[in-house]
Symmetry: C2
Subunit: 493 residues, 2 copies
Amino acid sequence: MAKELKNFTKRSDNYSQWYNELVIKADLAEQSAVRGCMVIKPYGYAIWEKMQRQLDDMFKATGHQNAYFPLLIPKSFLSREADHVEGFAKECAIVTHYRLKADKESGGVVVDPEARLEEELIIRPTSETIIWSTFKNWIHSYRDLPLLINQWANVMRWEMRTRMFLRTAEFLWQEGHTAHATKEEALEEVRRMLDVYAEFAEEYMAMPVVKGVKSANERFAGAIDTYTIEAMMQDGKALQSGTSHFLGQNFAKAFDVKFVNKENQPEYVWATSWGVSTRLMGALIMTHSDDNGLVLPPRLAPIQVVIVPIYKDTEGLKAISDRVAPIIGELRAKGVSVKYDDADNKRPGFKFADYEVKGVPVRIAIGQRDLENETAELVRRDTLEKQSVSLVDLADRVVDELADIQKSLYNRAKAYRDARTFTVDSYDEFKQKIEDGGFFLAHWDGTTETEERIKEETKATIRCVPFDGDKTPGVCMVTGKPSAGRVLIARSY
Amino acid sequence: MAKELKNFTKRSDNYSQWYNELVIKADLAEQSAVRGCMVIKPYGYAIWEKMQRQLDDMFKATGHQNAYFPLLIPKSFLSREADHVEGFAKECAIVTHYRLKADKESGGVVVDPEARLEEELIIRPTSETIIWSTFKNWIHSYRDLPLLINQWANVMRWEMRTRMFLRTAEFLWQEGHTAHATKEEALEEVRRMLDVYAEFAEEYMAMPVVKGVKSANERFAGAIDTYTIEAMMQDGKALQSGTSHFLGQNFAKAFDVKFVNKENQPEYVWATSWGVSTRLMGALIMTHSDDNGLVLPPRLAPIQVVIVPIYKDTEGLKAISDRVAPIIGELRAKGVSVKYDDADNKRPGFKFADYEVKGVPVRIAIGQRDLENETAELVRRDTLEKQSVSLVDLADRVVDELADIQKSLYNRAKAYRDARTFTVDSYDEFKQKIEDGGFFLAHWDGTTETEERIKEETKATIRCVPFDGDKTPGVCMVTGKPSAGRVLIARSY
């Protein structure tokens, strides 16, 4: 199995196949018996739990509280906001009946036609409608604002072409929904949460992102503006990793949510929503991993360091275990998650390959000779470099290596992205270069027509107008019409 | 509002109405626009999060890993296990279509009849079937066992009569699903997880429970045996608070899950499943709360102590805040969750009433006079007793009070239950006494007929055969036939 684990398709041969194989071989997820729905396996779920915990802490630190709203949404709710229904009421799972009955013919069960719902229920594709119908009861006065709510939940969109983590019919996510007394406050919230996402992506996922605003075409259905963080994968394609929406008063009007302001006047509430999902798992995998398997940034690795004893007999193992025990204790006291793998039904070579495929950041092997010399062999997953290290200060050394790996992964990803980010002024040059992937900073005339032409001719889309982009006016690379500044264009997931 | 908050129905007047009002007034949950589905509000969800975190730690400490399986289950899966389909494939939410389309007439959306699923999908009422269809791919050899999996998820059962937390169409829960090489190992797991539930109920919820095994009639659909923990509510009714099932080889056979044993022979796997749900919120509320509102055990209270400054002006507030700041720091360092409520838009009296209704275990008020005397007023939620305490060792004092409240609540609940637990030998006496509620230890002949007769005539059911019950043989109180020991009988939620 050790060999088979390493027998990957190479990224350079077929990036897409490499990704699909990696998800399976690193034991992250697998297809289920239900079309488009995946099973998230324990190792994959452990990474998602680390993401969740960190994001949840960040949401709470910015004043948000968790709550839980119903899975099912009455069909009529979706139609309340005109753009929203356009975007979400198409491909979705629809509950029409509430009872099965025995089928004498087949011996199985069939839908009981008597148990038809008066109004169909939709499995939530997103929860703005059900939440704003609830907010109506919660908001009366300016004293009830801001209302800062988050929900961790499963959602469902009936996608036709699915890929594990990147696009699945059911996925896990968090959705923040907030209500504010003023437009300014709502806009601040939209930006604050985008910054939280960017900080999480860069500091925890070690994944550099470009922050910006979406074009009208790429906005969330029902939003006035959508802010986004965009990351570059190793095939040069962009992955939208988190979005934060300014919803204006659209949902307040659709669900008649007003508050009495300090001047005792009724006003519609201002809204935001923001979310990240298990899609981040796809982004994490594709940003750092290599032809040998998964590479995990230490801050999100369920196992940060694995220690493998190499022994001939029980006595040999005992000698190593005794020497290693205080080091493990020291590592745990420093908050490092350690696995000591002394299982005797797998050979060391198999273990090494397995932890490599699973992206464990630091691997330490200790044999009889090492023990005599008070040393160990340390291998970093990011560089696969072997070093002989002293047992005496091993815990401190591991902590340093983990910090260095976290930083190096970010720097490597950033260097990769920067080297593949191009400023272009000619559409011909763009059309040629886009074939190799990459981010392109180009002038665009701001029209949907031009945007759609670019998409049709090159499969690339406007990812965002970067907040800190070049705001010097110029001329659109496609039409020659005036442009207010450069936008980020790329092919994307 | 302070007065209104306290204007509850009394438990003695109408226990059921008291409960419904409490859920609303303590801001725990509310009905949603979707029949039978509740919205769990931030304060209620914060309690659930504390439960989740503690249970999750206990599951991990006993070797379990989390994973995630699809929300939707193919209809045919439910029919694979004969008893299971009987129990679960009746009232459930059925997805029949996957697309809506614009309706020109109404301007809304309608189900697209073209988008009918070939096989209907059921929103999981429990996940044995989808999980065992997955386990088939994960289990090949004895080396793959035991497989110890847990899932945190939402599930749905189309209940006709719902009550918040106690019985809702959608609810949140965890479901453990494990696979073992031997019957003995599976039985050990079933008992281990029941013990985990009992420990959680008693040590964290401060709720005493009776552990035992269900009668055939009350078993989980598809189980060989169901173990349960039963708690007594303040109306003398039982609430089943957690169950752990020995599934034998039923699901392994239904989904053809075999492993190769050490002797290289194929064998069917042995299974368990176990779960607790947001129903525990109902149990928590009904075990401790009183006519003034919620009473929370400190270990599950989102806010363990609230400090309310009583001041006339900004300077007065500043003097109190300065003196209190280091005490708050000390409390937080000791792991106590503190809220310092210096909001100036609510009067102290309102705050006191609000925290009382919300069950905050310890409330501290500090005024100008207190500051001069280096004292504060401390009120325990469980006794509503006021004490003057010194500011000097306040943090230590609060820690002691919290520990004492946790213990007192358990002792109080246990004394309440013990005083209402009766040993009866006469069916007439039982029929008379059951009208006032309570637990009854009585002899039963072990037949379903007698069990059903008791239920019909008294609305009471056999809650369990207690593990540590009286095993002295006797005669059934109903039929006079031989009985192997006393069983626990009660009316229940």
